[in-house]
Each structure stands twice: as C-alpha cells, then as structure tokens.
Amino acid sequence: MTETDNTVLNVKNLNVWYGDFHAVKGISLEYQRNTISAIIGPSGCGKSTYLRCLNRIHEETPGARAEGEILFQGENILSKMVDPVRVRRSIGMVFQKPNPFPGMSIYDNVVVGLKLQGIKKKNILMEHAEKCLQKAALWEEVKDKLNRPGMSLSGGQQQRLCIARSLAVSPPILLMDEPTSALDPIATAKIEELMSELKKEVTVIIVTHNMQQAARIADNTSFFVLGDLIEHGLSEEIFTNPKNKKTEDYISGKFG
C-alpha cells in the first residue's frame, strides 16, 4: 500500500516481544485522517499490545520490546531518539477501565493535561473544558457540578470524562483500548454515538473484543489472530464479504 496525502499514521513491520514471547508478528497498517479504524480478534491475539506501541505506553510493561517503524508526521516515533512524552501529546489514549484521577474534581480532570503543560489562564481553560466536555457528550450532565469529584460520576460518565480529558490536549490521533467493555449497554451506546462526531476532528484507532461494535462504528477493520494480521479493509467489505476464510469463520461466530 502506498502512502497517500491522507495517511496520518503508517505502521511498518511492527514486531513486539514480551521476553521470548512473540506477541505481534510483523504487522503493517496505514491509517487515514478522520477515520475510525477498529482492531478485532480473539483474546490474546496481540490487539492491545499493538495499540500500546502506537503511543509507546508498551514501555511501561516490563520486558516489552518493540521493533519496526511507526511513521507519524514524518518521523519514526518508535525510535529511542524520540521522546515518548512528545509522542503522547499527539497520540492520546482512553483505557478499558474508566480512570478519572483520584482527588480531582470533574473540571480539574479535564484541564489537568493543559495545566501541567503550563497553560494557566482560567478563562482559556474553562472555555476549552466546556468544548471538550461537549465533544464527549458530557457537558449537559455535569455543567452544574464541575467541582464535584470525578469519581462521583457513573461508569459511563467517567469514561466520557476520560475521553474529554484526552481530547483537551488536542491530539490528532486517539487510541481507545476496549473503551466500553466495562460499561453497560446504554453507556456503551452513548459512547458509540459520540464517535461519529468525534471522527470529524480526530482519527480514532479502537481495539474492541466486540465485533458488532466494530461493524457499527468503524470505517475500517483489521482482524488479528495470535499476533498476525489476517485481513484488513473497509468494514462494509469485511462484514459482508471477507476474503479470508479465518475472517469469515470469526465473524460468523465459528471460533474465538
């Protein structure tokens, strides 16, 4: 696949090991601007490991080693010469378990990324917080209680708060690691709804164990098994007429 002007992230031959275990085996994928790309596959297939390399959070896991290239804005962000802190300001992440920071109010949670980067002016912070909470479809529900603790919200609201928090630092790419697997169906539906608005500003890469979710929200879908990329393409092709038999079997529920 040749890189086009619309490519925002280009992963080339990514390999990841945990000690001796080869978790991700030579995967190459490209991501286009303002799209939602989903990664599906049975448990233990390396989806989360792959995703965590894209913002170098894999380095937090002891024993993890990654090789290959991840090209973003003209440089290989996997290289040791690149500061991971800088990478993570452009590639944000929302985790599986909603994790508002303890001891901080809703408002503090949203602006913490900005504050710690040195932005102090209250009106700028407030304006930005409102915008991000609106993008995360949470503003109406919390606008009267911004000073309440972040952890006093329900699970679904906490996750939307985490989304707002990630959006506050304006990353062009947002990674989501099974963001709704700890939530009930209604909270899940609310988050899926806001994704279609979200992609107008941000490119989303989402790992999900729920392939129906991938079918519902993703423009492109990649299918992994045991660290290998089996198939990838437009969701509407993968889910109506996949080319690989393994993909077909997985989607029809025959394994995984």
Binding site: S196, Q212, A215, R216, D219, S235, E236, F239, T240
Partner: protein, 209 residues
C-alpha cells in the same frame, strides 16, 4: 457507514417516483422512447444500490425489530418496484399496436396508478388502513382486466379486430393487471413493517381466485 432505516426508505421513495413517472408516461406516445429508457436505467441503478445498501445496513448495523423489518421490506419493495417499471416499459410496444384505446384500458391504467400511489403513500405515513384499501381494490383491477379480455376475445371471434391488435390489447391489460398485483405486494410489505404481521395468502382480503 452511517446509514439509517429512514435513509433506506427515502431511497425507495426516490425510486418510486421514477417508477410512477414511467407508469404515467408509458401510454403517452408523444414522449420519445429514449426518455423512457433513461428513466428505466435510473430505476435499474436504484435497484442495485438499494439492495446493496440494505445488505450493508443489516450486516453493519445489526438492526432489530422495526428497523430490521424495514431493511428486509425495502429489499422486497425494491424488487417489486423494478418489476413495475419493467411491466410499464414493456407494455408500450403492445400499446403502440392498438388502433383505438377502449375506455376500459384507460380506466385500468388509472386504477393501477392509484394503487401504486396508495401503496407508496401508505409507506410514507405508516397507514395500514390505506394499505388495506389498496389490497382490496385489486379486485376491481382484476375485474377490469377480465372485462377487457372478454371484449377483445369477442371482437377477435367476430373478426371486428385483427389478431395482432387483439393480442396486443390483451397483453397491455395483462401488464397493467400485474402492476396492480405488485402494488398489492408493496401494500402487504407496508403492513408487515408497521404491524409485524405477515398477511400474505389470506383470503379475507383478496378475491377468491
């Protein structure tokens, strides 16, 4: 993919307006053949697109209940509309053979135009009463068809009419009658969407055959 069931319905409505235009113009010899061909091509494009969109909608959005009934019914109504267009387009050739048009054919034409309009309106307004009226009025269309057949057969027997003309006239009436049947099918699909009931093959609503 952000398709909704309402968008599928909107596509069907667009297709229906083209089909109704063909039905309206098929007996108007002042309109050139290639104009009708253009409309027929549009219908074929809709036919392919709507099936594809419905298929993808079901695969990607996993619709349930009413949304699922809509997606399935749009595929069926799609096929029925395409056949209406076909029947209308094809009857033109036979209509051309007629020296005079008996009023019965004109009446039958008006009747089936009303029926298809009624079925489509019922779809827009979710009106099962209107759909039922369409189904009931199929009886009248069938009667008209039988009348025309009788008249033409009579005339052919008495050598008042040539075989060519006679058979053409019967053919025109037959196509129109089929269009009436197809409108009935569309109305049955509308009732399925609204109420979830499959009322096909139930004799209370149709005439005894």
């Amino acid at each position: 993919m952000n398709m909704t069931s309402q968008q599928l319905i909107d596509e069907i409505l667009e297709m229906a307006s083209v089909v109704e235009a063909i039905l309206d113009k098929c007996m108007d010899m002042k309109i050139p053949k290639d104009k009708l061909e253009e409309l027929e091509n549009k219908v074929n494009q809709f036919h392919i697109k709507i099936d594809d969109d419905s298929f993808k909608y079901i695969a990607l959005k996993q619709p349930h209940a009413r949304d699922l009934r809509i997606a399935l019914s749009m595929m069926k109504i799609n096929a029925q509309l395409e056949r209406v267009a076909d029947e209308a387009y094809n009857l033109r050739r036979y209509y051309n053979e007629l020296q005079i048009t008996p009023s019965a054919i004109k009446t039958l034409h008006d009747q089936v135009k009303k029926m298809i309009r009624g079925a489509i309106d019922a779809l827009v307004t979710n009106n099962t009463y209107q759909a039922t009226e369409v189904i009931k009025s199929d009886r009248y269309a069938n009667e008209l068809n039988r009348e025309i057949m009788k008249e033409y057969v009579e005339k052919m027997k008495n050598n008042e009419m040539s075989f060519d003309e006679g058979l053409s006239g019967i053919r025109v009436a037959k196509n129109l009658e089929r269009i009436g049947d197809l409108s009935t099918n569309i109305a049955e699909d509308v009732i399925f969407i609204v109420s979830g009931s499959d009322i096909r093959h139930q004799s209370q609503l149709k005439e005894q055959k």
